[in-house]
């Protein structure tokens, strides 16, 4: 077996709490309650151990990381340790002064996510009035000397407005815009019939994105990735299992990919019990999909296996019942018809009879 590389990316999911209720949230349906979260000490330990392992990029995410009152402590420590730290936020829970303070403490980058380009749709999807505040925060981020990085999560209900989203971004003078297609995990998978865009929508969004990429070349970088459901090939999940990425969930569970909690048989460990070095190199979970010995056909003899490593194992598990199967978004997968069916269903019932499930708003329960 080739030498195990050291991780480059640490995703610190510091909390599942969030004041918003996006139905496309990729958090698990079983949210980690506040009382089970790692404390400040616990997170500092995670930062130290992962940096020692080699991680250079650090993402603070959630939930909404701003809910954590000790975020400032973690940011300062991250800077001291030499991380490049990214805050992935809805913008709710900060004001211009907090942004400025983050800057002084050494946070490197803030990504503000939007649900849509206008207040009505945005606030409907977020389940709360947040749009105006998000605009203010996007501006505050730039005013503090950061690049303005915006993320629009796109799905059936808003993908027809990609042009308006990019107009808004241009008006705000964004430096980077990510049009991130919903990943069908957690709450998003439960709402798939409402959220999966149709093929026509995907192609149109792609066309618009390319048009704007041309138009704003050199001014605003636009990223648009075609959803894997329409690609016929899966994405290399987390750039390959146990190769670059390490995620720590709010309760300290260490995950090879942020939805790995749902996979059976991995034997996940918690940073409270084991250090990250052991978990990364020795644990069953991190070695589970390393190399190629685990692969089944068609991946095992496929000449593209170096490219996508068989795709997303969580997706394979949720849709086919076996995580070692090829990701069914791959056209070579014997289960690919499941994807085609999902696409057909969403096309035939654009107004699914199931109600749209809003994420549980957890923050109120956490005040105790």
């Amino acid at each position: 077996m080739p030498k195990i590389p050291s991780p480059l990316w640490l995703l610190a999911e510091v909390t599942h709490s969030c004041p918003l209720q996006c139905p496309y949230c990729s958090n698990p349906l079983q949210l980690v309650p506040k009382k089970d979260e790692l404390d400040t000490e616990g997170w500092l330990k995670v930062l130290h151990q992962a940096r020692k392992l080699g991680a250079a990029q650090l993402g603070f995410s959630g939930g909404e990381p701003l809910v954590r009152k000790d975020l400032e402590v973690l940011i300062a420590e991250a800077r001291k340790l030499g991380y490049y730290s990214n805050l992935i936020t809805s913008g709710v829970g900060m004001d211009a002064a907090r942004v400025e303070n983050f800057r002084e403490l050494g946070l490197d980058h803030i990504q503000v996510s939007f649900q849509a380009d206008d207040a009505t749709l945005n606030d409907y999807l977020a389940g709360t009035n947040a749009f105006q505040h998000k605009l203010d925060m996007a501006r505050a981020v730039k005013a503090s000397g950061y690049p303005m990085v915006l993320c629009f999560v796109i799905h059936r209900q808003n993908t027809d407005r990609v042009a308006q989203m990019l107009d808004l971004a241009a008006e705000l003078q964004a430096d980077y815009v990510e049009l991130a297609t919903t990943q069908f995990e957690g709450w998003a998978l439960a709402n798939r019939d409402h959220l999966l865009p149709t093929l026509e929508q995907v192609r149109e969004a792609e066309r618009v994105a390319h048009q704007y990429q041309e138009k704003y070349k050199g001014k605003m970088k636009i990223f648009y990735v075609v959803p894997d459901y329409y690609e016929n090939r899966p994405k290399a999940c987390v750039a390959g299992w146990g190769r670059v990425f390490i995620a720590v969930a709010p309760d300290g569970l260490v995950l090879p990919c942020h939805s790995a909690r749902s996979l059976p048989d991995l034997e996940l460990h918690n940073v409270r019990d084991r250090d990250l070095d052991w978990i990364w190199y020795e644990s069953k979970a991190f070695n589970y999909f390393r190399g190629e010995d685990w692969m089944k056909e068609p991946c095992r003899s496929c000449d593209e296996r170096e490219k996508d490593f068989g795709g997303c194992h969580c997706q394979a598990f949720k849709l086919t019942g076996d995580a070692k199967n090829a990701d069914p978004t791959c056209a070579k997968s014997p289960h690919h018809h499941l994807i085609e069916q999902a696409i057909d269903t969403s096309r035939l019932n654009p107004n699914s009879s199931k109600p749209l499930l809003f994420r549980k708003r957890q923050i109120n329960a956490n005040l105790s």
Binding site: L8, A56, Y84, D108, H109, Y146, P147, K221
Partner: protein, 91 residues
């Protein structure tokens, strides 16, 4: 040929950070959610793009460090590429 202004002051683009990574035994450039490993020469040039030196000064300093002259063209073509990549900006 080149559009580079020798009197202009260079810095890294917003959100970019240049540093030595012990575990990779390499200089790297870090930016929002990404990283590139740098060759020794790229690192030598970027280490000087700190908002305090003009292009001219950068060339002069590199020529002194490498005890040579005539680096101007190489430095300029690298800077053009770096700007294309969005790594640097003119102050």
């Amino acid at each position: 040929m080149s559009q580079v202004d020798f009197k202009a002051v260079l810095s890294l683009a917003r959100g970019y950070r240049f540093q030595w990574e012990e575990s990779q035994n390499n200089h790297v450039l870090l930016y929002p959610e990404g990283m590139v490993q740098l060759s020794d020469t790229a690192a030598a040039v970027l280490s000087l793009c700190n908002g305090q030196r003009t292009v001219e000064a950068i060339v002069a300093e590199l020529e002194e460090d490498y005890e040579t002259d005539g680096l101007s063209e190489d430095v300029i073509s690298f800077l053009e590429e770096a700007q294309e990549q969005g790594w640097i900006q003119y102050a």
